[in-house]
């Protein structure tokens, strides 16, 4: 009988973590649906980027208010995990505040956690006010309705509740309050429970303890369904982020082969095409669906926190055009999730569903509104590159469908015929010299 709580705890813990691992596997499988791309170069620069951008939050603080509040929540999250370790050990072995044996340092640690808990609570409340009362413009764009909007608020409520539970847990722990070490914040909450018997207090403390740890496990599993996934994926995403100059767009290798062949005077144009190795020729140029994108772009989509810094910097969006880089990322993720579910329900095989990323999610109007200015890429605090997806989809429109706007077709014809985007003769290129 004595061991029942411990066994119960182990079951809760294992199922909580087990369910999470199952979803992480699904996540990895979905990301691997993307095209392969070799990212093994420049390891040291990549570690540095991850350290600076994800761990060091260097791009978050470019917007000082949101950056500072985020920093508090982030540090709070990292540090409070030490407390979670204690809770897990206590839960499994039936101990109580097992780390307390380290003496006065324990008081310092718990004191720091309590202060952070209050700071996190305040920050999260301010975040809630920014979203729901001040109604910052970037949180009220057309893509931020229903789930994206609610998701953001649920996360904030969750964190408020978890922080409250942590403080109440400490406040109702008679033994801990008697120690009078580290109860720097909870000592002010403890009087709210004065007059209750020790048994009642113990009962509350145990109840809150259980709700707290179960809440943490529920939150862990909520990640997969939420933009909050960024707390994990920001790290690989900044590691695999683009290192080349922002203006550099990749040269499609398959096209290079074709062009080299066309330009090579030694190639016999009437020769039968050589047998191409399997997978040598891409199924199509550019991207019309998520499987045509590479896995880094799909990782980008799962990493997006929907903060909207990209969209608020986008010149097209600022001038009222349909394009929103954030929506590009959200659409990519939503479609990828849909494809993943399709695979799950069809025993591991994707069954054609008559839908694709292009048109069903992202419209041509959005794609053609982009000026490729890289403002979205610069703004993203976690190294997401929405521009690369826009370019891939334009490639599909132009090279597979010949569906560029008429004026762009004219421009391209001019380049083909005259070597300039305008209809001037190449022989007139030096005329300016004598004008």
């Amino acid at each position: 009988m004595h061991y029942i709580p411990n066994i119960l705890f182990a079951i809760v813990l294992i199922s909580g973590i087990g369910f999470f691992v199952k979803n992480v596997k699904k996540l990895a499988r979905n990301i691997k649906l993307g095209r392969d791309v070799d990212i093994s170069d420049n390891k040291s620069q990549r570690w540095k980027n991850m350290t600076m951008i994800a761990l060091g939050q260097s791009k978050m603080v470019r917007r000082p208010i949101a950056g500072f509040l985020h920093l508090v929540v982030y540090v709070g999250f990292i540090i409070i995990n030490i407390e979670v370790i204690e809770i897990i050990i206590d839960g499994l072995f039936g101990t109580h505040r097992v780390f307390a044996s380290i003496g006065s340092l324990y008081g310092v640690l718990i004191g720091a956690f309590e202060i952070l808990a209050v700071l996190v609570f305040v920050s999260v409340t301010l975040f809630w006010i920014r979203r729901n009362i001040i109604k910052l413009k970037r949180f009220w764009k057309s893509e931020m309705t229903s789930w994206p909007k609610n998701d953001a608020n649920y996360i904030l409520y969750f964190e408020m509740v978890l922080m409250t539970l942590f403080l109440v847990m400490n406040a109702t722990d008679v033994h801990f309050q008697d120690m009078n070490s580290g109860n720097i914040m909870s000592q002010f909450i403890a009087p709210w429970f004065s007059g209750l018997s020790d048994t009642t207090l113990h009962f509350i403390e145990r109840g809150v303890w259980w709700v707290h740890i179960i809440g943490i496990l529920v939150f862990l599993n909520y990640l997969y369904y939420s933009k909050h996934l960024h707390i994990l994926l920001a790290f690989p995403n900044t590691f695999y982020g683009k290192l080349q100059p922002k203006g550099q767009m990749d040269n499609l290798e398959a096209v290079t082969k074709e062009v080299k062949m066309m330009m090579d005077p030694n190639v016999d144009p009437f020769a039968a095409p050589a047998e191409e190795a399997e997978g040598d020729v891409p199924a199509k140029f550019g991207a019309s669906d998520v499987q045509d994108l590479n896995w880094v772009q799909l990782l980008n989509a799962y990493t997006c926190t929907e903060c909207g810094r990209c969209t608020s910097e986008c010149p097209a969006n600022q001038t009222g055009k349909k394009l929103s880089p954030r929506k590009i990322m959200m659409d990519t993720r939503d479609r990828l999730e849909e494809v993943g579910k399709n695979i799950d329900t069809n025993k591991g095989e994707f069954v054609e569903d008559g839908k694709q990323l292009l048109d069903n999610y992202i419209t041509r109007e959005e794609l053609w509104a982009c000026t490729s200015c890289n403002a979205c890429v610069e703004a993203c605090p976690v190294s997401i590159d929405p521009l690369s997806i826009i370019l891939e989809m334009r490639r599909y429109l132009v090279m597979e469908q010949s569906a560029a706007p008429v004026e762009l077709n004219n421009m391209m014809t001019n380049i083909e015929n005259n070597g300039a985007p305008w209809p001037y003769n190449q022989m007139d290129r030096l005329n300016w010299k004598n004008e």
Partner: protein, 263 residues
């Protein structure tokens, strides 16, 4: 003045068995657009003045393929790139300077993988080195004390991290450099990049170049300086749309430096 312009071609250098110090890549806008031609000429005047042995490709130059690539036509881009690279490599070109950030970005970043590796400089960077080496002197002249704001071209600034060279040149003019609300890495696009120059904008509340011009006008400038022929056109149109063309001039940095010395 124009008969004084010395504009040798690579073919002429080759005929004499010589190599120029640098190839001036003029670009399509610089070759054909009436407004941009003035920038080209201003830059050539400065090269002449500094006794830089340069050459142009002239009729052998062709579009770098930038607008085709960014519109999604990778085939056309690579055809252009490979053709240009063959010409450049045949002349054994080592160093290229251009007044167009789009040409700059494409040749610098996208040509190497296709077999064309050169040292590529934007004309503001090149002018800065001429200045630092004492081959060119800049004086304020007519721009002394004028309020000048600089519009960062996306393909020079954000795309390639070149922010300081153009600003250093403006400051050498003894002008008052005033920054817009969005500048350097937060600069706002002029609206022409990504092949937008060649098509109508998608429907919205306003044109991008008007928004950007409003930001520029907020600084109460006498001159809006640009470092890109496309930005120049977009900002000029924006100033016209705001009916400010009598008060505010849009000029390329090369024009500012050349005009300051009455070239």
């Amino acid at each position: 003045m124009s008969e004084l312009l010395k504009v040798p071609t690579m073919a002429e250098f080759m005929a004499q068995g010589k190599q120029p110090e640098v190839l001036f890549w003029v670009g399509c806008a610089g070759s054909f657009d009436d407004r941009a031609k003035k920038i080209t000429k201003a830059f050539v005047k400065l090269l002449n003045k500094a006794n830089v042995e340069f050459a142009v490709l002239g009729t052998e130059e062709s579009c770098t393929g930038d607008p085709a690539k960014r519109a999604g036509n990778e085939f056309l881009f690579q055809m252009q790139a490979v053709t240009n690279i063959e010409v450049l490599n045949a002349y054994e070109v080592k160093k290229i300077v251009t007044a167009c950030p789009h040409c700059f970005n494409t040749i610098k970043n996208e040509y190497p993988e296709l077999g064309g590796s050169y040292e590529v400089m934007h004309h503001t960077q090149f002018l800065k080195t001429l200045l630092d080496d004492g081959r060119l002197t800049i004086e304020g002249g007519q721009f002394k004390g004028k309020r000048i704001t600089f519009h960062d071209p996306c393909y020079l600034g954000r795309a390639n991290n070149v922010y300081e060279a153009p600003r250093a040149l403006i400051q050498k003019l003894e002008a008052e450099l005033v920054e817009m609300k969005n500048c350097r890495r937060n600069g706002l696009c002029c609206g022409a990049g990504g092949a937008q120059m060649f098509k109508d904008a998608e429907k919205g509340d306003k044109e991008v170049n008007v928004e950007r011009t409003e930001q520029a006008l907020e600084t109460k400038p006498e001159i809006i300086a640009a470092g890109c022929p496309f930005c120049n056109t977009m900002m000029t149109d924006g100033v016209k749309a705001k009916e400010k063309e009598a008060d505010v001039a849009v000029m390329d940095i090369a024009e500012l430096v050349a005009n300051a010395q009455d070239l």
